[in-house]
Amino acid sequence: MKNANEHDFEEVVMKNEKPVLVDFWAPWCAPCKALAPTLEELAREYADEIDVVKVDIDENPALASRFGVRGIPMLMIVHNGEEKGRTAGTISRSRLDAFVDAHVDDN
């Protein structure tokens, strides 16, 4: 998994040739921490198909504002510079897999 910030977000996410799953999180967010191992697993399993990128909203408030992040964890899939889908709150491993498949296979 990579980290992105306000300076490299365009390169790391918006101009990425692969679909990107962006995880908006914060260090104080317990559900975000609970989700982290699931995302690590997903990043390993989908390594050939997608990149998983984490964005700390405390460090990068402009990105949270730009994408209208109202609650965390918030996951967003971006491909070819466009948002393809988002889901907020905790999510099971199976549901996360279905979410990624629904928005990645179509591209």
């Binding site: 491993r93 199976s94 549901r95 897999d97």
Partner: protein
């Protein structure tokens, strides 16, 4: 690489048993956290931290089994009962046993529980997915590991079927089925299936007494308001909640006591899975080289 219990070294088992026994005898065995000031849970007692991977590596258990261990132990209502299970976990694991199949076997046990089957059959798609997932786990046990794509297809079918189900209990059963749609090597698969099974159990127990989300919300708001205005601050925890309810809404207080009684029954699914795992340990094959 197979998961060989205690790496076929009797000394590793003896050492783990002694460490656990030491914590229990010293009354330093706790539910949570894993390790704090010398007090430890089932994981921390062995490796002095909550690192599940380190526990799995040290003792030779599959990581997907270890990620479920503390939730099983925590389903016991008292520390002595939890400690007894933790000891049985080690005692009943034969040195050198091949534990590689235990997770899929435990998932099959959970998918075949009558409580789940009854609700899964409430939606044809969920029942079809349950059967398909059982078949994949059985294939894996026969050494014919299904490909990633096969798991993915049944997983998505299970998620779709769960979303279609209208009955809350059937939908909840669907989430158990979809959580099981992973190979037994997936790190959290057993933990996730147990969690979903526990939520189904909770929903069923609450439905038995007709406890509603509205009642839950009423209790929450009475408690929340008391936090703001400081009412009955001389009481704490459950005593305070019950005191507030008795004063404000005696009928709801009676219902809440019923709810608490139902809560006492929670954890059965974890404990029955835990008992099944101990039986699976006893039956696990011990390769000839380990004897």
């Amino acid at each position: 690489m197979p998961d060989i219990a205690f790496h076929a070294d009797p000394a590793i088992k003896v050492d783990a048993q002694a460490r656990l026994r030491g914590h229990i005898d010293a009354k330093r065995f706790i539910f949570y956290p894993a390790w704090e000031d010398g007090a430890a849970n089932v994981i921390g007692a062995i490796i002095q931290s909550g690192d599940q991977q380190a526990y799995a590596d040290h003792l030779g258990y599959p990581i997907a089994l270890v990620t479920a261990l503390d939730s099983i132990v925590n389903a016991y209502s008292t520390t002595p009962l939890a400690a007894e299970y933790a000891q049985s976990w080690l005692d009943r694991t034969p040195v050198g046993a091949d534990l590689s199949d235990i997770v899929s076997q435990a998932i099959i046990f959970l998918l075949e529980r009558p409580e789940l089957v009854a609700h899964a059959r409430g939606h044809a798609g969920i029942e079809t997915a349950r059967q398909a997932i059982l078949a994949l786990h059985r294939r894996a046990l026969q050494g014919d590991a299904p490909e990633r794509k096969a798991w993915k297809v049944v997983r998505l079918a299970a998620v779709t079927a769960s979303d279609q189900a209208k009955d809350p209990l059937v939908r909840c059963a669907g989430t158990v089925v979809e959580a099981a749609a992973w190979p037994g090597t997936m790190r959290t698969v057993l933990h996730d299936v147990l969690g979903a099974s526990g939520r189904l159990e909770l929903k069923q127990l609450m439905q038995e007494i007709g406890w509603t989300d509205e009642e839950e919300s009423q209790v929450f708001h009475i408690r929340e308001q008391a936090e703001i205005d400081g009412r009955m601050a001389e009481l704490s925890g459950l005593d305070r909640v019950l005191g507030l309810l008795d004063a404000d809404n005696p009928q709801l207080a009676g219902r809440f006591r019923q709810r608490l009684d139902q809560f006492e029954k929670l954890g059965h699914v974890y404990r029955s899975a835990g008992a099944e795992i101990l039986d699976l340990f006893s039956r696990a094959p011990v390769p000839v080289a380990s004897r």
